[in-house]
């Protein structure tokens, strides 16, 4: 990996300097304590159903705890993370951590990729080589990107806000400052989950800085349809079959994200998550039913896309950085409806994965994004498509921005 051009020497201590951060090493005592806690987990009784309608089944929880407590190796993650150029810089009063990998290809386009909840930079690692060294990963030099992967405030190695106000708008503004500080006057942006919302808000707030965005969780639901789905009303009349399916998925989603309402109103009450590693992992796993089903299969021996280590790398990062509550706080800060159009006029590329919270129909996307440059329904993948289907996801990003590259030439 190359070092970033602006990586400072040790003597430069301006707050706004970009400091290298390349030695993630957790004290052994903390790992021992985590293991002790996992082994000492006090479980509830088995659920009273034979399905997942009451949440994560006890047997799955026990399988996670067993693997985590006996076989899992965090040190591998440290090695992996430390192999990338990591940095920290202070923006708007807060330390922001990010990975920054430049491509060797001269025509590489800069892209900032933002994770969501319950996510972290761990979700994006599989994309780094395919995007920065495309020729070695099924692409051509013409597809190269310079990649910036920040940790959202309150997540991973970024600082935890000690005052309120760090909602998606402020994060989006901080990202523009970050990219400029790295020397990128104009750049692309990508995201899913909170990352999609931050990316879309950034596109709306800073259209002169953002060349184009790619989203795998499009905010494309017409407001009146979103309101109906939120309230659980029957589908409005006049929807096409595809729109109707999207509506029903959305209605279902709103009934399955009560954790989001809870975090949005009482983040500080979730102390159990900072005190119980298995409790944290289970809470993170129950993000939504399809994801939960995927992870459940993984822990019953049928891995597909996300491995046991993938899942636990992310959960362990949350645990070791003690960010369960600080991460939940983003829901409290947010005032923006998740799925409604955000007034974006710059070029937008949309990838629709079948197991996403809903599949936005092309006509909704075209309406939400007047400058829709790419729309594709992908055959496989869910909410964390970059993590689960990185090859498909990489191909989406390459295709998504090809037309913009031509314009740039």
């Amino acid at each position: 990996m190359k070092q970033a051009a602006k990586a400072p020497g040790r003597k430069e201590v301006s707050k706004e300097s970009i400091r290298t951060f390349n030695n993630v090493t957790v004290p052994q005592a903390e790992l021992d304590d985590m293991k002790r806690r996992i082994a000492a987990t006090r479980f509830p009784e088995k659920e009273t159903v034979n399905d997942t309608s009451q949440g994560v089944p006890l047997a799955t929880v026990e399988a996670i705890a067993h693997y985590w407590g006996t076989s899992y190796d965090w040190r591998k993650v440290e090695t992996k993370l430390n192999a990338y150029p990591n940095y920290i810089t202070e923006i708007d009063g807060l330390d922001i951590h990010f990975i920054h990998v430049r491509s060797k290809n001269k025509n590489a386009l800069p892209i900032i990729i933002t994770h969501g909840w319950p996510g972290s930079i761990i979700h994006q690692l599989k994309l780094i080589e395919p995007l920065t060294i495309p020729a070695a990963h099924g692409g051509t030099a013409a597809d190269a990107f310079d990649v910036v992967i920040p940790s959202i405030p309150g997540y991973g190695f970024s600082g935890k806000p000690i005052t309120n106000g760090w909602g998606p708008e402020r994060i989006a503004r901080a990202w523009v400052i970050l990219m400029k500080r790295l020397g990128y006057k104009k750049f692309l942006a990508q995201g899913g989950d909170w990352g999609a919302i931050i990316t879309e808000i950034m596109a709306a707030q800073s259209p002169n800085d953002v060349l184009g965005i790619h989203t795998n969780m499009a905010g494309a639901v017409p407001p009146e349809i979103d309101a109906a789905a939120f309230s659980g009303a029957p589908a409005p009349s006049g929807l096409s079959a595809e729109e109707l399916e999207a509506y029903e998925r959305l209605s279902f989603t709103y009934k399955n994200v009560y954790y989001a309402y809870y975090m949005g109103s009482r983040p500080q009450t979730l102390v159990g998550l900072t005190d119980s590693p298995v409790g944290l992992a289970v809470f993170m796993m129950d993000f939504e039913p399809r994801y939960r089903a995927l992870i459940s299969r993984t822990f019953s021996g049928i891995p597909e896309g996300i491995t046991r280590d993938d899942f636990l790398d992310n959960a362990t990062l949350f645990w070791l950085t003690n960010t369960a509550v600080s991460a939940a706080r983003l829901y409290w800060e947010n005032k923006v409806p998740f799925f409604r159009p955000k007034g974006i006029t710059i070029p937008v590329a949309v990838s629709v994965f079948p197991d996403e919270l809903y599949e936005p129909p092309r006509n909704w996307a075209a309406h939400a994004y007047p400058n829709l440059i790419y729309y594709n329904k992908v055959c496989k993948g869910g909410h964390f498509a970059n993590w689960e289907q990185p090859a498909l996801f990489t191909e989406e990003l390459r295709k998504a921005f090809r037309s913009l590259r031509k314009q740039a030439e």
Partner: protein
């Protein structure tokens, strides 16, 4: 306290059918379990302080640290065991599940039977303060003719009752079980009282079994007209035509609905809240945050301003839940429930309503009269909250005495 006449002390356990009424003593918790609880409290891994100076993000870190400090260093569970065992406790199997209850008969011959049901996050601990005044009124400022025989059961999945291992134990089934329980004790007809889930279970019992319920009392009245309830749930502006009192109740409801997302997650993902089975302080935090006014009250207590509840009151209840590992089984009633919490259910027996100002909403008399056509008593209090029996036992006992006087 007298022991009850119908205990099965003559029945050898070997031939137990399950339906006999067995004496129950709270076993001393093994010291190792109390030590482990203390170890976990002291080892709590904390989040950072909330970035606000109020309670809008939930229970402030300082409150939880004060609670944890007291819990780990001064709190004494053994006192609770002694207190519980000073009452006659029993277990009997109803509808396939072992149900624990306290049963105290009054020495007064005209005493009427009264079933009192707790809610979440509650237990029999909430009701202990009213046992003496209800069963022995002459010792507590009342008259002999105010006497009740009191039955205080633990809801399935709570405290010393059994945890259901199959689905179906919602409020309706619990209400049927309570009638079976009372008949088994020998009470064909009886009074019933409750708050929170206990309020809903009592209302449902009155609807399902009107011939068995002489009258009911509630401090969590189900009185909100359905269209008003729907509007409040959706956060809509107040409907036209509400009186000032109704408007205030409406605003309280809107606020409450915005602050009970714990009920939604317990109702859909009880099993996913495992952290609270594994972390005593995590459990305590979720218990403190039942509603904003309760949180305010309990926060003041841990800041040194005792009123209504003491630190021990609060921790007795939480420790009982911890030691019985009933956090998740306690949430599951939300998953089982299919009823609106505060909408009228069609109760047609005599009803006594206690409306406390710091309840999720203070039921206006107008709504209560409509919801309960046979309302025989209504009292609007100027102090007290969601846990009336626990926090304002005298006021609640006065309502029960005065309320049922006319139908004795």
């Amino acid at each position: 306290m007298r022991t009850m006449e119908k205990t099965s002390s003559t029945t050898a356990p070997a031939i137990a059918s399950g339906e006999e009424i067995r004496d129950f003593k709270v076993n001393k918790a093994p010291q190792a379990e109390l030590d482990e609880l203390k170890r976990r409290i002291l080892a709590t891994r904390w989040p950072e302080k909330e970035p606000v100076d109020d309670q809008t993000q939930g229970v402030p870190l300082a409150t939880m640290k004060a609670l944890a400090d007291y819990w780990a260093t001064e709190y004494d569970w053994r006192k609770v065991e002694a207190k519980l065992n000073s009452y006659p406790n029993f277990i009997t199997n109803v509808d396939g599940l072992d149900i624990h209850f306290i049963h105290v008969r009054s020495k007064h011959p005209n005493a009427l039977p009264l079933l009192v049901t707790h809610g979440w996050p509650g237990s029999i601990i909430e009701q202990l303060k009213i046992i003496g005044p209800l069963t022995d009124p002459t010792a507590y400022g009342g008259n002999a003719e105010d006497a009740f025989d009191v039955v205080i059961p633990s809801i399935p999945g709570y405290g010393y009752s059994e945890k259901p291992s199959t689905t179906g134990w919602g409020p309706s089934r619990i209400a049927y079980a309570w009638v079976t329980l009372m008949k088994r004790i020998g009470y064909e007809k009886f009074f019933a009282q409750g708050g929170d889930w206990g309020g809903l279970i009592t209302d449902i019992m009155a609807v399902q079994s009107p011939d068995n319920i002489l009258g009911m009392a509630t401090n969590f009245p189900c009185t909100v007209p359905i269209e008003i309830n729907n509007a409040a749930f959706g956060g809509a502006p107040a409907p036209d035509g509400l009186s000032e009192e109704e408007k205030k109740a409406y605003d309280q409801l809107v606020f409450s609905y915005k602050h009970v997302s714990y009920a939604l997650i317990m109702g859909s993902r009880p099993q996913t809240l495992l952290a609270t089975a594994d972390s005593p302080v995590g459990l305590a935090t979720i218990f403190l945050d039942h509603d904003q006014r309760s949180l305010t009250l309990i926060s003041r207590i841990f800041a040194g301003h005792t009123e209504g509840l003491t630190r021990d009151d609060v921790l007795d209840n939480i420790t009982l839940c911890w030691l019985t590992n009933t956090a998740v089984s306690g949430y599951r009633i939300y998953w089982e429930n299919k009823h609106a919490f505060v909408a009228p259910l069609g109760v047609n027996v005599p009803v006594v309503v206690s409306a406390f100002p710091d309840e999720l909403y203070q039921a206006p008399r107008t709504w209560a009269e409509k919801a309960y056509p046979k309302m025989i008593y209504y009292k609007k209090h100027n102090k007290g909250g969601h846990f009336a029996a626990w926090e304002q036992p005298e006021l609640l006992v006065n309502d029960i005495r005065a309320g049922f006087k006319s139908i004795r």
